[in-house]
Symmetry: C2
Subunit: 256 residues, 2 copies
DNA sequence: AAGTGGTCTAGACCACTAC
DNA sequence: TAGTGGTCTAGACCACTTT
């Protein structure tokens, strides 16, 4: 089955083996969910040492193509279902009456959704202060959320609001009520005008990987949102960390 | 310097070493650009084998925190400059007269920019046909670009346009002229209405890593854009692949 | 009990960089 | 030339899953 390896050339043995395995994965010859031959078989098939075979497998794990489990073997990773997150999710008219948009959308698609919330206050870091237009050291309300769908974690979100703005309001509670934080802000007279989202991606820290249950080779998408009230005052930040293989963000842009 | 390792516990030695090195990197005790002790020194410091030390370093390379070069040593990766890509880059009024927006923006910031373009025609794949509202097998014009700034590759972009729409126009040329493809389309009567961008991220293929000159542990951001003319007809696709550590996308969203 | 992947060691040779 | 990281091997023990 394996093609011949070039043992004299420049390209490392383990990279050549990785190339051959990758080829079989991307062409579907090794179907998603199927098992690879054991390390022992691959050693024999390629006449290579165990370390060399393991290194080849490690390359494909780092690319997010393979998973391995002790005692079970190495399998081709299956693509998880993808959430499409439209930019209209922030529109006023889409603010769900009953629960937050996250819960409503997911349960509409027939899945169980959970959110774990912790609320606290702290002094604004230099970065948070700058983004909210506060003086460093002013206090902010911090709402941390971990969202799950069907038991699987999908995203982590941390919101920051000027404490002076939200003290004594329902935004300090675990449940911010129908329509969520944004609905409460508007009721208080802070009519929202626009949102700004900055998007990038990177590899997760071990903590993030654990709490999002990320496989190796899975990056995270970072969305840093600022909500501006009419008059251009920033009233909320929301930094979201999501599993890149489980999300697709959709933005509409006018040509004007 | 190194703290004691737990040689009995559950956590693997190489992970404990990785933890200690990571701590030094994130706190800045090991500054960006600085060199780590050699593998030999680390072996002695931690009383571990070379493979174990190398595995610890490998963990941090996969996280995008360290780089290594044969003969030179292991260094803390320095953050590259970040391009901010605003969604207003697509607005009609921002269409630069002289050259494409990419070149104009970069040279305005005092850097040298290059684009390598190849143009061809091919039969639309099932996916491209679906996105462009064509029948599978209809021909499309394919424009592939590789953009560099100061010699460093920043992004790869592939555009697809219905051939029937652009046959015999300047869009088939390497240089599409002032204002680029979108300006030509509008001159031809296809007034643009809106763009849709779908954003996600994943680890690069080896080919992508090579042509974007990506270090290990650096994901790519994928932006799949569809340009719609008035009347909701899709007239162009543009799929962009960019180095995640060199880009930040900025979107403005109305609260309405 | 047998088979799987996970960790760790020791040693060898090589290619590259810096001096 | 000395020192660095890159590759490859061989063998050992362990933790876990499957049968």
């Amino acid at each position: 089955m394996p093609e011949a390896l070039d043992r004299k050339g420049d390209r490392a043995l383990y990279l050549q083996i990785a190339d051959q395995l990758r080829e079989q994965v991307v062409t579907g010859k090794l179907a998603p969910g199927s098992r690879l031959p054991s390390e022992h078989s691959l050693m024999a098939a390629y006449d290579a040492s165990r370390d060399t075979v393991r290194k080849a497998i490690g390359v494909l794990k780092a690319e997010g193509r393979l998973d391995s489990e002790r005692g079970r073997g190495v399998t081709v990773r299956t693509a998880p279902p993808v959430e499409r997150l439209g930019s209209d999710r922030l529109a006023r008219k889409h603010r769900k009456a009953g629960k937050g948009a996250y819960l409503a959308d997911l349960e509409a698609s027939g899945r169980t959704a959970e959110i774990a919330v912790t609320v606290s206050t702290e002094k604004a870091s230099r970065e948070v202060a700058a983004r909210l237009g506060l003086k460093a050291g002013e206090r902010v309300l911090v709402r941390s959320r971990r969202m799950l769908a069907d038991g699987q974690p999908l995203q982590l979100a941390v919101s920051y609001l000027p404490l002076e703005l939200v003290k004594g309001t329902q935004i300090e509670q675990h449940d911010t009520g129908p329509g969520g934080t944004y609905a409460r802000l508007e009721e208080m007279g802070h009519r929202l005008d626009r949102f700004e989202e900055r998007v990038t991606a990177r590899m997760p820290s071990p903590d993030e990987a654990k709490s999002l249950d990320l496989g190796p080779g899975t990056p995270v998408i970072l969305v840093a949102r600022t909500a501006y009230a009419v008059g251009n005052r920033p009233v909320e930040l929301c930094d979201t960390t999501m599993a890149a293989d489980r999300y697709e963000l959709l933005y509409e842009i006018s040509a004007q």
